[in-house]
């Protein structure tokens, strides 16, 4: 009986996680909640822009500045959020 209960719980958790894969926005929104890395913020910002949420994308840029980054990430940040072109 406890195995049936366990499998039911697993099934419901899988169902709820599968819902997240319905759009890029929901996937990266979940990512910045649970694993707020620079890469997650970059992709979240892109998903927001594609969804037409400019204010949200600006807020994501501010959050990107607060995450730990490599030098290469800094270049990407400048390009994506401050309009600095690639050299």
């Amino acid at each position: 009986m406890r195995w049936i209960a366990l499998l039911t719980v697993y099934g419901l958790l899988t169902l709820s996680q599968a819902w997240v894969y319905q759009s890029a926005l929901s996937i990266w929104s979940q990512a910045v909640t649970h694993a707020p890395t620079f890469r997650a913020w970059v992709n979240y910002r892109t998903a927001l822009l594609q969804a037409g949420d400019i204010e949200g994308a600006v807020a994501a840029c501010e959050a990107m500045q607060a995450t730990s980054r490599t030098g290469r990430d800094d270049v990407m940040l400048a390009r994506l959020c401050f309009g600095v072109p690639w050299r």
Binding site: W3, L6, L7, Y10, G11, L13, T14, L15, Q17, A18, W19, Y21, Q22, S23, A24, I27, W28, Q30, A31, T33, H34, A35, P36, T37, R39, A40, N43, S68, T70, R72, D73
Partner: protein
């Protein structure tokens, strides 16, 4: 199981997924790395069909796992192990994320290899079947198939069989693995070695931290995400991983099998620096797909 994954069927390709749909030409497809994965994507050219394909392979893997489990434990225990394999939330990324196709197919090859090996006494036909199934795994994703070299002796320990019965496949797999490392990976490693801003020990420690995060998700599957969080306490994670490796040897048999399988599945990824030029790639949830085979078999065998 299909109901649990149904919401993902209509999802768009995300992140690395669009690359998979670039294989429009069959010749280019077969010449790519992971040709079986590329071929399978060529056969499922729309996102819906590709998602359906992923769910189908996951379903098939569960059926093969059930057949294997029947040879190792009671029918009820086998059903429970299969149920956990099908429905555990940690499997979602491999099934719902199209890039997980390579893991699904490689695991299919691994399962077929193990099944062929368990079915009969080692005859020439069995050995050929094992080799063919192993090649399927290798053609889908090399780094996942590499773990077969370690899975086969674990299976021998489980069944208390002589290592001689698995010696032929081990030799075959070791040879294939060596050819793969020497020809394919080495070139990429040399090219990208300096681009990764981490010392080898630091890299291993960070991967161990990521591995502990995945292990936590296996036990308590809450807080999943497509991204892996930044490595916490890498040095401590490395020491804890070494300690766990030693402790698992003295654990009761089901836990020993599950633990050894887990280590065997993650070790190649932890040790081999993946050739990512931009940043070091941490372990992700879909990397646990093949690992779950041994974990559910080990834990499932406790059921009477």
């Amino acid at each position: 199981m299909i109901l649990a994954y149904s919401p993902a069927l209509w999802g768009p390709p995300i992140y690395e997924d669009p690359v998979l749909f670039q294989f429009t030409d069959l010749q280019r497809t077969l010449g790519s790395r992971g040709p079986l994965t590329a071929l399978s994507m060529w056969l499922t050219p729309t996102p819906f069909l590709a998602h359906l394909g992923n769910v189908g392979v996951h379903l098939l893997n569960g059926v093969i796992l059930y057949r294997i489990a029947l040879l190792l434990m009671t029918p009820i225990a086998a059903a429970v192990a299969t149920g956990v394999f099908w429905l555990h939330p940690i499997q979602t990324e491999a099934v719902a994320y199209l890039t997980g196709r390579s893991e699904l197919l490689a695991t299919c090859g691994i399962l077929l290899t193990l099944w062929c090996l368990l079915l009969k006494a080692p005859t020439l036909v069995t050995m050929l079947s094992v080799t063919l199934a192993g090649c399927v795994a290798f053609a889908a994703k090399e780094i996942t198939a590499l773990s077969l070299v370690l899975y086969l002796p674990i299976l021998a320990i489980w069944q208390q069989r002589s290592l001689w019965t698995v010696a032929v496949p081990i030799k075959l797999w070791t040879s294939l693995a060596l050819v793969y490392i020497n020809l394919s990976m080495a070139t990429l490693f040399v090219r990208n070695w300096t681009a990764i801003p981490l010392a080898p020990l630091d890299w291993i420690a960070r991967q161990c931290a990521a591995a502990w995060h995945l292990i936590r998700l296996m036990v308590l599957p809450i807080g999943q995400a497509i991204e892996t969080p930044a490595a916490a306490l890498p040095s401590l994670s490395l020491i804890a991983m070494l300690g766990a490796g030693i402790a698992v040897w003295w654990a009761p048999k089901p836990y020993r099998i599950a633990g050894l399988w887990l280590l065997a599945g993650l070790l190649p990824r932890i040790l081999i620096r993946q050739p990512i030029p931009i940043q070091p790639e941490p372990l992700h949830e879909h990397h646990l797909y093949a690992v779950m085979v041994g974990v559910v078999l080990g834990i499932g065998s406790r059921w009477r």
